[in-house]
């Protein structure tokens, strides 16, 4: 555990924000508010990303996730005008308790597993080293060389998704 450095402080705040608002998101009854809390969580995450030498990803996190996806959520929520989660309380206690237990168990397991997992070998890297401080050109180069095919497929996927969404949300299929 290194000495209390600025980075450490930032990490503490960010992770606290993320976790706290994630919890808030779950316990929140109003969908809109859960969305907002999720946004805050994403902020925390993007800060963590910056700490992990991935500012580009951090920007994407905000730009795409907070900026596009969650806005979409908000839209739908407003469109369907979902106020409170229906008042009548959960009529399946088993599901509730069991779900909670399983979630906690799995979380614990995973935490333990990840911590116990051996440090990934320093062996041959699959991608190039993370160049400091500016990793973006490297990312771009990687994206258009090694991952070109995946990239193209992805673009196709996005296209299909767009068409599908359009078709689904049309009033009638004709």
């Amino acid at each position: 555990m290194p000495a209390l450095s600025g980075e450490l402080v930032v990490f503490g705040c960010a992770s606290f924000l993320a976790l706290a608002f994630a919890l808030l998101m779950v316990v929140q009854k109003t969908p809109v508010r859960s969305v907002l809390s999720l946004i805050v969580t994403f902020f925390g995450l993007s800060v963590l990303a910056i700490l992990l030498a991935a500012p580009f990803i951090a920007a994407l996190q905000i730009f795409v996730y907070a900026g596009a996806i969650l806005v979409l959520f908000l839209f739908v929520i407003m469109l369907l005008n979902l106020k409170e989660e229906t008042a009548d309380k959960d009529d399946r206690p088993v599901q509730r308790t069991l779900g909670l237990l399983v979630a906690l168990a799995l979380g614990g397991l995973l935490a333990g597993a990840t911590l116990r997992a051996p440090v990934p070998p320093r062996g041959p890297l699959t991608g190039p080293r993370i160049p400091m401080p500016d990793e973006i050109p490297a990312l771009g180069r990687l994206l258009f060389s090694d991952y070109l095919f995946a990239f193209e497929v992805l673009s196709l996927l996005l296209l299909v998704a767009a068409v599908g969404a359009l078709l689904l949300s049309k009033r009638r299929f004709e």
């Binding site: 399946r92 069991l98 779900g99 399983v102 168990a105 799995l106 397991l109 995973l110 333990g112 597993a113």
Partner: protein
């Protein structure tokens, strides 16, 4: 010519084009009117034109190409005594197993050149003929596409350089024959005939396949280089073990395709198809494939003399047997069918006595006059509005003169009258039978020649001479597209023999010398010229006698429909049981039914009812029932609540993680 593959490829293209257009058009019609096929509703002229042009054009072009290929080759090969080396062109490697590969390769040697010549020629003519004959058919496009497909298969068969590829063509022609016999698929007898042909051929093909395997086992290769190997062994004079079996198997295949022995039964029924089909497939080309095969593998057969003898006997037997049946048939096409069987018998007889050249020569000539006869009969049927019973004809000579003349020529040719084609080929066969010392076979052949002359002239007489019966009064001549091919074929039936005029008659016996490089045959003894001339005169005399007899009985026949010729009828009455037997085709079909089919049917029924229905289905149903039971229990896990599924999924995952962690 560099691209032999083009020759089969062109008809294939034609088939695809025609088939596609026909399909699309018929489906469009089906949308417009109800039901795809409308019997008797001819196609629109434009479509007919298209099919005609494509069908005839592709085959015609193939014919041109093949002549461009074979004429230089043939001429060149005639110059040198041992003949030119065969042209073999590999298209691509078809299958490769280890170091052994089977190529799609085409071979042009004197044998295939001979086949090629008449196959393409007759094929083209018959395509032309079909344009006129089929024009009223609603299945015009289908017909032409099948016909083109047949040409493709036949040319593949002829040009193939390996038994497997030859087998492809072999099966292809079988398929097309089936399709075309069953062309009138709304008529039960046509469908049945098609099936019969197909199954009979299966019997043969079974032998064929095993034969191919055998060849491969013996020589380690299945392309025709094995012939060379076999030839060497002939020279070395040692026959590898099992060559007998291979020969018999291959011969079985040949029997199936060429309607020999008991397997002939499908050919007469095959007359259910349109007449041009009978002419092309069941007279001129396909059925001679068996002979071609034997000639191809001549070296092999020479290694197995006993097998060769068997071939001879089967051939002779079939020849006389079919001829006797031909005597008493009244359906014009049936007579021709039996005559075809009998003639094929001749060819096998020739091969059997080792005169492969003579056999192929007869194949050559026969294709012309038999095609001519069939097309003629087709023209007659056309004129008689699909009446095939000769007893309802008669006196047509004046009404359809062109058909009459051409058919008469062809009849004389097949009867073996000097100097028509049939004379030379048949005589060469008989001569070589005699020369090889098979006198019994010779006599059988001779007698058959007489019978042939008789029933053929009987056919002509009943059709064209005497008093018109039935609707014979208002018969009308066929269009030019039908008569022109008739004339051409008639002309060939006259001159085709020229290539085989024997030495004694001052000829050069070109055909034998031509085929010499590609066939191997056992030594055939020489005959004294005097004897040879004598035999010729004898056979000629027999033929003339047959003709005369037929003329005496049927020439001026004016009797009623049930007994056209009183003398013949009286004779028939006298022969009693035997006559009835002959008239009833020796009850062969019934015999096969009783001895082969019904037992098979019984076994099949048992297996179906007892084994399949109870045992196999039992297993299937039981397992299905178990699954259903399980499903009935398990289905309650599908609560329809997403969260339950998610929970179950998560539980499973947690378990997995735990397991991984623990281990």
């Amino acid at each position: 010519m560099k691209q032999l593959w083009l020759i089969p490829a062109l008809p294939l293209a034609g088939f695809l084009l025609n088939g596609l257009v026909a399909l699309v058009a018929s489906s469009m019609r089906a949308e417009k009117e109800s039901g795809a096929d409308h019997p008797g509703v001819p196609l629109p002229y434009a479509q007919r034109l298209f099919h005609g042009v494509v069908g005839v054009g592709s085959v015609g072009l193939a014919a041109v190409l093949s002549f461009a290929a074979l004429v230089p080759y043939a001429l060149g090969s005639m110059q040198v005594p041992e003949g030119l080396a065969p042209i073999v062109q590999k298209v691509y490697t078809w299958m490769a197993a280890g170091d052994y590969t089977i190529d799609v390769a085409f071979r042009l040697d004197t044998l295939s050149a001979l086949m090629l010549s008449f196959v393409t020629l007759v094929g083209t003519l018959i395509h032309v003929y079909s344009v006129g004959y089929m024009q009223k058919e609603e299945g015009y496009g289908r017909y032409f596409s099948y016909l083109n497909l047949f040409m493709f298969a036949m040319l593949t068969l002829v040009l193939a350089d390996s038994l497997p590829l030859l087998f492809v063509g072999w099966e292809g022609v079988g398929l097309c024959s089936y399709l075309l016999i069953g062309y009138y698929y709304d008529k039960d007898f046509a469908v049945a005939a098609g099936k019969k042909a197909f199954i009979a051929n299966r019997v043969g093909d079974f032998g064929m396949v095993l034969g191919i395997f055998g060849v491969f086992a013996l020589f380690g290769t299945a392309d025709f280089s094995f012939v060379e190997l076999a030839k060497r062994q002939v020279l070395a004079g040692n026959a590898p073990l099992g060559v007998y079996a291979v020969c018999l198997l291959l011969f079985l295949g040949a029997c199936g395709k060429s309607a020999q022995g008991p397997l002939y039964v499908w050919l007469p029924d095959a007359m259910a198809g349109p007449t041009p089909v009978s002419a092309l497939i069941h007279a001129a080309t396909m059925v001679t494939a068996g002979v071609y095969l034997i000639a191809r593998c001549s070296a092999l057969f020479v290694l197995a003399p006993d097998a060769l003898t068997l071939v001879a006997w089967i051939g002779a037997g079939t020849a006389i047997f079919a001829a006797t049946i031909g005597l008493a048939q009244n359906d014009i096409k049936k007579v021709l069918a039996y005559s075809t069987v009998s003639q094929l018998g001749y060819m096998f007889l020739a091969c059997g006595v080792g005169a492969f050249g003579a056999g192929m020569f007869h194949v050559f000539t026969h294709s012309f006059f038999k095609a001519c006869l069939f097309l003629g009969s087709g023209s007659v049927i056309h004129a008689m509005h699909h009446e095939q019973d000769m007893r309802k004809m008669g006196g047509l000579a004046g009404r359809i003169p062109q058909t009459f003349r051409t058919m008469l020529v062809a009849t004389l040719a097949i009867a073996g009258i000097v100097p028509l084609a049939g004379f030379f080929s048949k005589d060469m066969i008989l001569g070589s039978a005699a020369a090889s010392g098979h006198w019994v076979l010779y006599l059988v052949g001779l007698f058959t020649a007489g019978l042939t002359a008789f029933y053929m002239f009987r056919l002509v007489s009943m059709t064209f001479f005497g008093a018109p019966r039935g609707h014979a009064e208002h018969a009308h001549e066929s269009p030019a597209t039908m008569t022109v091919p008739l004339w051409i074929l008639a002309a060939f039936s006259v001159v085709a023999g020229a290539v085989g005029i024997p030495a004694v008659l001052g000829g050069t016996d070109a055909v034998s010398r031509f085929l010499e490089p590609s066939v191997t045959h056992p030594p055939i003894g020489e005959m004294a010229h005097g004897l040879e001339i004598g035999l010729m005169l004898l056979s000629l005399g027999v033929a003339v006698t047959g003709l005369a007899w037929a003329w005496r009985w049927y020439g001026r026949a004016a009797g009623p429909v049930e007994a056209v010729s009183p003398q013949a009828h009286a004779f028939y009455e006298k022969t009693g049981a035997l006559g009835r037997l002959v008239a009833n085709r020796w009850n062969v079909d019934e015999g096969i039914e009783a001895l082969v089919l019904s037992p098979f049917r019984k076994i099949g029924t048992f297996l179906w009812r007892g084994f399949d229905a109870l045992f196999i289905d039992g297993i299937a149903n039981a397992s299905a029932f178990l699954v259903e039971l399980l499903g009935d229990l398990l289905r309650f896990f599908t609560t329809g609540h997403v969260r339950n599924y998610a929970l179950a999924f998560t539980l499973g995952f947690a378990a997995l993680v735990a397991y991984v962690w623990m281990s």
